[in-house]
Amino acid sequence: MDNKEFEKLLLSVQKPGRYAGGELNSIIKDKEKVDVRFAFCFPDTYEIGMSHLGMKILYSLFNEREDIWCERVFNPWIDFQEVMRENNIPLFALESRDPIKDFDFIGFTLQYELSYTNVLNMLDLAGVPLRSADRKDLSPIVVAGGPCACNPEPMADFIDLFFLGEGEEVDLEVIDLYKKIKAEGGDKQVFLRAAAQIEGVYVPSLYDVEYYVDGTIKSITPKDGAPAVVNKRIMRDMDKSFYPETFVVPTTEIVHDRAVQEIYRGCIRGCRFCQAGFIYRPVREKSVDTILSQAKSLCDTTGYDEISLSSLSTSDYRQIQTLLSRMIEWSEKDKVSISLPSLRIDNFSTELLEKIQYIRKSGLTFAPEAGTQRLRDVINKNVTEEEILRTCLTAFEGGYTSVKLYFMIGLPTETDEDIVGIAELGQKIVNSFYSMPNKPKYKSVNVSISVSTFVPKPFTPFQYEPQITVDEIRRKHDLLRNSIKTKKISLSYHDSSTSFLEGIFSRGDRNLCKAIEEAYLNGCKFDGWNECFSLERWMETFEKCGINTAFYANREREYEEILPWDHLNYGVTKRFLTRENLKAHGEATTPNCREQCAGCGANCYGEGVCFEKR
């Protein structure tokens, strides 16, 4: 389509800037001079996808190579989808505006289960058959990675191959293999079989899954030489690991519009509900020098005046004090502000607080996750009420007047007492503000409580647990609301029905593929968006496909059951997860990796926290 005509259509939709491309630092290459064209797809809107660090890393990494041109693709909003269909515009990549169906690779990053229908939506808009089996040619190869790839089974029929773990090395190995097989004239089957031999690559079509009559898995059998167990890949040395010198700087507004500097991967904590805490093990840190030089390069080349330090739990970075002191020095000079998301409450010192105040005076957030000590022990959130209150008091004395607390409901073993405990903890924090002898006059305190619903995830000690039903979620919401007695506490919670859907997919198997396809054809997309999500439509679909949703979401699994992801290895062993589950029910906590190794299995990579001197 000619550019004028295209731009005319763009001007007829909301926020056209997100489809225009041409942003600062976006990469244009001569398509005649590259061997491999890679469409990097984020199955959500531009605003969300452009805020995502993983995409930025891989975009730069691929484009460093002269023979690869990687371009960005996001899911167009509904209004533009309609315009595209009316005018026969297939899904295109932002840089070249070429249709992605002609690319060598279409790659998705799967960040959350609610984006699954968007993956199908994007393939469909591209004019590419949804099912792997219906795509006979060598290209486009449809690949996917990201955290949801740790249980990729619900998407197994659509994706040709999954990358497990960190993609920096394995993605390029697969691209090289593709080049070789294409040059030799090999077909898709030849390529997939060879790719399955690369560590970190999972080709679902090379595994047969058999079921018992009750729907649980009887066996998972590899074929055509595929490995019985597929191992995830990790970057062993974070100081040598690729990091982009620059980011594409969006012209229009996005969710997180700033530079992001990764400081380490993994988490030492092992909170039992947290998938990230297990699948990214072991912890591997970057050195202060690496962080500073990467951060500086990012700000210099993007012109960003804000940088956020990214990790799962910033204050667990061993050199945090040194890092912050040196960063502050630089940021003052260059007029860059630093923001620190994901701070944990327990090792939050006064000294650190002073630095943070210095950095950015915004609200403080804490995640106690559960309302009582008993339940915090069950989930292995090693933080005590005393610590929470002390930290809040320190913060109040430092001039803060609002704190935000995150909790989960529906955790294993939870009783009504634990729910009421959330309100009580909030009340105690409010009281501690008013107990300050020198509390600021005319100022009032605000404690905001944000509640999400616990969704059991693969590769966590709670992978065996039932999720509570939607009715039960609503009852607990009501109970909590009625337990709050002061206006100083504000309460917000997530929609219970999307958590339910998430619960079905997160531990789903291949039998869900047909339901996802059916749901998409039935009009489900942008399920993470309130204005698009329809539980009724999903329930109709499940019924039509004969899917028992309770089997996936609300059923307790035996330790011996073969789980849909048991043939994938993320370092942590099932034996360890089972042990942790037993400990949870015994209300016993497990020390973090730095206090004492819990023998999770992730030391198999030979690097990281497992080998630090304790």
Binding site: G17, A20, L24, T252, E253, Y304
Partner: protein, 218 residues
């Protein structure tokens, strides 16, 4: 310290950048360029930048003006230009960097070239008749959010209509329009053309900005 005026053009994919987007983008571009620029004081320090006249999303422009404050007097306008040229993205081109002459409040008129794709045969004539009326009424939202009737005719300084033919684009009608700009009397060509009724698809390019004496705005 001195105020420096940057003249640039805006075309291609950059036409989808709104005024707010331009503000954000320029802040970053200028930080990247290394031009020693003055930062606003206070907690949230940011480079001081102002635009003479906002441009609507979707318009291209041959004459955009941005003012910045350079703190280092040794740093010449040529150096500013060279530094900016290095970092301007595709679609933005610096045409000149000069010391500021007029205040932005002195903007009085803007000239637009509006190109219509081939329309009905008598479109040019009807457009001519429409723009020649004594008064052209429309409703406009006041600052308080109420609708108020205004007359746009006095805001039309001058116009001319021509026809063009090119092998690529076929027949088109080009309206050259000078409208009041800046301040209270600012008139957006889209509003004017909306009052005309249905038109063929058109593109708008801002050609020039003038002061009250119809001198090019410097």
């Amino acid at each position: 310290m001195r105020n420096v005026r940057v003249f640039f053009t805006k075309h291609g994919r950059m036409k989808f950048a709104s005024h707010l987007d331009m503000n954000r983008l320029m802040t970053r571009i200028i930080r990247r360029s290394g031009v020693p620029i003055w930062y606003t004081e206070g907690f949230n320090q940011h480079p001081y930048i102002t635009f003479a006249l906002p441009l609507s999303l979707g318009f291209t422009s041959d004459y955009e003006i941005m003012d910045i404050r350079v703190i280092d007097d040794e740093f010449t306008n040529e150096q500013v230009k060279a530094a900016l040229e290095k970092v301007f993205p595709d679609g933005l081109v610096v045409t000149a960097v000069e010391n500021m002459v007029l205040k932005t409040g002195e903007v009085a008129f803007a000239e637009f070239a509006i190109t219509f794709k081939e329309g009905e045969k008598d479109f040019a004539e009807r457009l001519n008749a429409f723009l020649s009326q004594e008064s052209i009424l429309t409703e406009k939202k006041t600052k308080k959010g109420k609708m108020k009737e205004i007359d746009m005719a006095p805001c039309i300084k001058r116009f001319s209509i021509s026809k063009r033919f090119s092998a690529e684009e076929g027949e088109s009608v080009v309206l050259n329009l000078v409208l009041s700009a800046g301040g209270e009397n600012n008139l957006n060509p889209t509003l004017l053309l909306a009052a005309f009724g249905e038109t063929p698809y058109y593109t708008v390019c801002r050609k020039m900005i003038y002061d009250s004496a119809m001198e090019c705005f410097k």
